[in-house]
Amino acid sequence: MSGNMNITLKVWRQKNSNAKGELAEYKVGDVSPDMSFLEMFDVLNERLVSENNEPIAFDHDCREGICGMCSMFINGRPHGPKEGITTCQLHMRSFKDGDTIVVEPWRAQAFPVIKDLIVDRTAFDRIIAAGGYISVNTGNAQDANNIAISKDNADEAFAAAACIGCGACVAACKNASAMLFVSAKVSQLALLPQGQPEKQTRVLSMVAQMDAEGFGACTNTGACEAECPKGISLKNIARMNREYLGAQLCSEKM
C-alpha cells in the first residue's frame, strides 16, 4: 500500500570515521503517511540496492522506542519534530507532501561518526561501568519486601531510570554535554535506599569518566530535557549537582 507523499531527503553520507562526509539528496515518492520514518528509509534503501548503490547506514533495532539505538538528527532536532518519541516512532503523517528533510548523525566529539548516520556511543557504557550500579553480588539479597520505599521516591527513581541511553540529550546540547544522561542514573540510585552506601563514590567516578570522554560542560539551557524522548527531567541535573557538591565536601577519598 503506497501513499501519495513526495519527500526530498538530504542525508549525511560518510564512508567511515576518517572520510569526509557530505549531504546527498534523494527523492522518495509514494510515501504513505502510515509509514514510520525508518520505514521510509527502508523503502529508499531497497531502491538504492536495486540501483546497485550502497544503502544508507543507520542504527535501529527495536523500532518501538525503547532500545535507544536509533539516532537521527532530523531538521536540526534529535529524533525529529515531535516531542516525547524516538525516530523509530516518528511517522510520515508528521510531515507534509513536498517537504525537504535534512537528516544528519548525532554531532558530538565524544560520539564519533562510524558511517553515514551511525555514531559510536560506547562512551555511555564506560560512564556506567565507572559507577552506574549498586555493588551487590548475585545471591546475597534480602527479601525484596524488607526494603520499603515510598511510592513517590520509587516513582521518581523509575522516571529517571526510564532513560534509554540514546544520546539525544548530547546531540541537542550546544556544548555536547552528557549531564542529563549521567544525572538520570545518579538520581535513580540516589533516590533509593539501596543506593546510599556508594552514593558519593558513584557520582564522583561517573562525573570524572564523563569529563574524560570529552563531553562538554552544562550551561543549563535545557535543550536536553526538551529533546529527550523519555521526558527525563532537568531536576535530575540539579540533584546530581547537589550530590556531587556533597560528595566533594564530605568524601574522605577526595
Binding site: 557504557d125 527513581a157 539501596q194
Partner: protein, 667 residues
C-alpha cells in the same frame, strides 16, 4: 534414533535442585581465574550470566551485535516478571507457579527444569530490588503485583509497561560493574558467525567486527549462547529488527540438537499491520487484558459497517457486542493464555467479524473498567451521584497511571487516541518456545556449549505464559548457570587456553570467510529483504496460527525453491571489509531459510495440536487444541546430519510424576 539424557537429578521434585546445588562439583577460586567463558548476547540471560560468572571470578568475554549491551531485545518486554512470592496472599506458591507453567505449556515442558524455575523466581525479585530496579510499589512502600494470562493469582511484578527495560538495565549495570573492574571484556558491534570445535568440545567462536569487517578468533573453555529467539523467521514479528537465529543455527550445524522448532508463540494483542511497508509489529502488553475487554460485533452487518467506516465502535450498545473470550472461557475470560486468545481472535476474523480495513483486527476496550475505576475514585473522593463525564474523567486518570506509556505508544503508531476509541489489535509472532535442546545443566548436545534464555527450548513447553520469559532469562543467568557450569568446568581446570592459531580456529575462520565471499559474489538482482519477506509470508500463511499437513508440505517445497533462488539471485551491495548492514542481514536470512524448513518439518511430524502448535486436523468439536499424549508426549529434537535438509529426529520422552496430565481447560 538415540535416547537423550536430560540428566535430571534423582529425588523428589522439590528436592532435586537443592540436592543438586549441594552436591555439584565446584571450581576453586584460583582455578576460576584461569577459566575463560564466552557469552554471546547481552540480553537478560547473557548480561545476568556475565555478571554472575564474573562475580565468581571467571574470565568472561561478552559479544553483542548492537552498539551497547543495553540494546538487547529484552529491553522491549513490557508487562512484567512472575515470581511465587505470594505477597498478595491469594494462594500462590512455588508449586502453583510450577503447575501453571506446565499446564500453560500444554504439558510439553520438562518437570525438573520448570520446578527449578519456580523455585528461583523469588530470588530474582530479591536480587533485582537489591540492584535498584524500580518496580512499581504500593503507598505503604511494598511491591505491587498484577495478573497475567493463564493464572488465577496476582504474581506479576512490574515497572509500568517497561519491566524488561528496568530488569535489563539492572543486569546491564551489574555487568558493567564487572567490565569496570576488568573481569569482563565487552565486544560491541560483534556478531558470532561460528563456533569452534576441538576434540569434540566447543572451544571458542569466530566473530566478525561489524565496523571493520575483520574476522576474529576467540578461545573459551566454554561458550554460552544467550541469543534470544528466532521469531524473525516470519519477517514480521514483535522482535527487534536485528534479532536473529544465526548463533543457534551455526551451533546446530556443528552438532547441537534443536528442540521443538515448530513451537512459536503468536501474541494476541499486537497493533495490526498497516501496509506493505511494514517492517515490524508492535506488541500491546498482555497486562492490558487486566482491564481491557476483547470484543467484535455480534452481527456481521455491524462489522462490515465498521470496516467501511459507516459505523464506529462506540456506537454499538453492549447487547450488540460479542465479548467472545468471556463467552467461551468464563473462568479465565480475557486472561486466557496467549495461544487460546490468539486462535479465538483468528476464528472471529476468519468468520467475517474483523473490524479494520483488512478484516484482521478485534477490539480491546477499556470503557467498562475506566468507568469502574471512575466510580471507585468518586467514592474515595466523597463525590455522590457523579456525572457520567466525571466518572470517565476520574477513571481515565487511573488507566493513564497504569498503562499511560502503552496508550501513548498506540496513539503514536496508529494516529488514533485509545482513550476515545477502543484499541484495534491482532495476533503477531512474538516468541519462540523452541530452541537449542539443553539438559538440566543448560548444556546443549555439544560438550561445553550452553544455551540460556529464549535461545533454549526448556521451560515453556508448547506455549509460554506471560511474564515468564523475563523470569526464565534471569533464572538461567543469575541462578542456574553459575552452579551448573561447575559440573563441566571442574573437569577442565587442567586445560590451558588454546592458542587461536590452532588449526580448528583457522579452518572455522576460513569457512566463515568463504560464506561471506559467496554471499557477496552472487551479484544477482534481488535484495535481502525481498527474500526475507517472501519467507515470512510462507511461514505465516502455512506454519502460523493454524497449520495442516498439506500446507506444511507445500511450505517445505516453497522454502527450498526460495532458498535456491536466494543463492542464485541475491544482491548484496558493499564490501566485506566495512560496516555493511546488507551483508549482516544476508547472512541471517540465509540461516532463516534453513531454519524455516526445519520448523515446517517439525510441525508436520507433530500430529497433534498443543499450545501454540495448532494442527487443524487435530481439534475438538469446540475448536480447542487436541493433544495426543500417547504418541507425542516428547520433545522433538532434531540433529543436523550434513548436506541440505538432512535432519534426524530424536525424542526426549516427557514424564509427569508430579502433575496429572489433563486436557487443558480455561472454561
Amino acid at each position: 534414533m538415540s535416547k537423550l539424557d536430560a540428566k535430571i537429578p534423582e529425588g523428589s521434585i522439590d528436592q532435586k535442585w537443592t540436592k543438586y546445588k549441594s552436591s555439584v562439583a565446584l571450581v576453586n577460586p584460583a582455578n576460576k581465574r584461569n577459566l575463560e567463558i564466552i557469552i554471546v548476547g547481552s540480553g537478560l540471560a547473557g548480561a545476568s550470566a556475565a555478571a554472575a560468572l564474573a562475580e565468581l571470578g571467571y574470565k568472561v568475554k561478552v559479544f553483542y551485535f548492537q552498539d551497547s549491551p543495553r540494546r538487547a531485545h529484552s529491553i522491549a518486554a513490557q508487562g512484567g516478571i512472575n515470581a511465587a512470592k505470594n505477597y498478595t496472599n491469594d494462594g500462590d506458591s512455588v508449586h502453583r507457579l510450577f503447575y501453571d507453567t506446565i499446564k500453560g505449556g500444554d504439558y510439553r515442558a520438562r518437570e525438573g527444569n520448570v520446578h527449578r524455575l519456580a523455585e528461583v523466581s523469588n530470588n530474582i525479585i530479591d536480587q533485582c530490588v537489591a540492584q535498584g530496579v524500580p518496580f512499581a510499589r504500593e503507598y505503604g512502600g511494598l511491591l505491587s503485583n498484577r495478573s497475567f494470562g493463564g493464572t488465577q493469582v496476582e504474581r506479576t511484578f512490574y515497572a509500568a509497561g517497561q519491566t524488561g527495560q528496568q530488569l535489563l538495565l539492572g543486569a546491564y549495570s551489574a555487568m558493567q560493574r564487572q567490565v569496570g573492574s576488568g573481569k569482563i571484556e565487552s565486544f560491541s558491534r560483534h556478531e558470532m558467525l561460528d563456533i569452534v570445535m576441538i576434540d569434540g568440545k566447543c572451544r571458542g567462536i569466530i566473530a566478525r567486527d561489524l565496523v571493520t569487517g575483520k574476522l576474529e578468533r576467540h578461545f573459551g573453555h566454554s561458550v554460552l549462547l544467550c541469543t534470544g529467539g528466532y521469531g524473525n523467521v516470519f519477517f514480521l514479528s514483535t522482535n527487534a529488527m536485528g534479532s536473529n537465529a544465526t548463533a543457534v543455527w551455526k551451533a546446530h550445524k556443528k552438532g547441537a540438537y534443536f528442540g521443538n522448532p515448530c513451537f512459536t508463540q503468536i501474541h494476541p494483542t499486537c497493533i495490526p499491520v498497516s501496509g506493505d511497508h511494514q517492517s515490524k509489529l508492535t506488541l500491546m502488553s498482555e497486562s492490558l487484558r487486566n482491564d481491557g475487554r476483547i470484543w467484535v460485533p455480534k452481527l456481521k452487518e455491524d462489522a462490515e459497517a465498521i470496516r467501511t467506516g459507516k459505523k464506529r465502535a462506540v456506537q454499538l450498545s453492549e447487547e450488540e457486542r460479542d465479548y467472545y473470550l468471556e463467552r467461551r472461557y468464563p473462568a479465565f475470560g480475557n486472561l486466557v493464555p496467549r495461544d487460546v486468545a490468539s486462535r479465538a481472535a483468528k476464528e472471529r476474523c476468519d468468520a467475517g467479524y474483523g473490524v479494520n480495513k483488512t478484516g484482521e483486527a478485534v477490539y480491546l476496550d477499556f470503557t467498562f473498567n475506566t468507568k469502574r475505576y471512575g466510580r471507585t475514585e468518586a467514592t474515595k473522593k466523597g463525590i455522590h451521584n457523579p456525572s457520567e463525564d466525571e466518572i470517565v474523567r476520574l477513571g481515565k486518570d487511573v488507566i493513564k497511571e497504569k498503562y499511560g506509556n502503552l496508550f501513548d505508544m498506540y496513539k503514536q503508531i496508529t494516529g488514533v487516541d485509545p482513550y476515545e476509541e477502543p484499541m484495534q489489535i491482532y495476533p503477531a509472532v512474538h516468541y519462540t518456545m523452541g530452541g537449542l535442546w539443553v539438559d538440566y545443566n543448560l548444556m546443549t548436545t555439544v560438550p561445553g556449549l550452553y544455551a540460556l534464555g529464549e535461545a533454549n527450548f526448556s521451560d515453556h513447553g508448547a506455549n509460554r505464559l506471560g511474564a515468564s520469559a523475563l523470569m526464565q532469562g534471569l533464572a538461567d543467568g543469575y541462578f542456574v548457570i553459575p552452579y551448573t557450569i561447575g559440573a563441566y568446568l571442574s573437569k577442565e581446570i587442567a586445560v590451558k587456553a588454546i592458542p587461536t592459531d590452532h588449526e580448528a580456529f583457522v579452518e572455522a575462520e576460513k569457512n566463515v570467510q568463504e560464506r561471506i565471499d559467496k554471499l557477496l559474489n552472487i551479484k544477482g538482482t534481488k535484495t535481502v529483504d525481498h527474500f526475507h519477506k517472501k519467507l515470512g509470508k510462507i511461514m505465516w500463511d502455512k506454519c502460523g496460527m493454524g497449520r495442516n499437513e498439506k500446507h506444511l508440505k507445500e511450505a517445505i517445497d516453497e522454502i527450498r525453491a526460495l532458498r535456491a533462488e536466494f543463492w542464485k539471485d541475491l544482491r548484496v551491495t558493499g564490501t566485506a571489509d566495512d560496516l555493511n548492514p546488507e551483508l549482516e542481514k544476508a547472512g541471517r536470512v540465509a540461516d532463516f531459510l534453513e531454519l524455516g524448513e526445519l520448523m515446517c518439518m517439525d510441525a508436520v511430524n507433530r500430529n497433534e495440536s498443543c499450545g501454540g502448535h495448532f494442527r487443524e486436523e487435530y481439534q475438538t468439536e469446540e475448536g480447542e487444541a487436541k493433544r495426543d499424549d500417547d504418541n507425542f508426549a516428547y520433545v522433538a529434537t532434531w540433529e543436523y546430519k550434513g548436506g541440505e535438509n538432512n535432519f534426524e529426529l530424536h525424542k526426549e520422552e516427557l514424564i509427569y510424576e508430579n502433575i496429572k496430565i489433563a486436557q487443558r481447560s480455561y472454561k
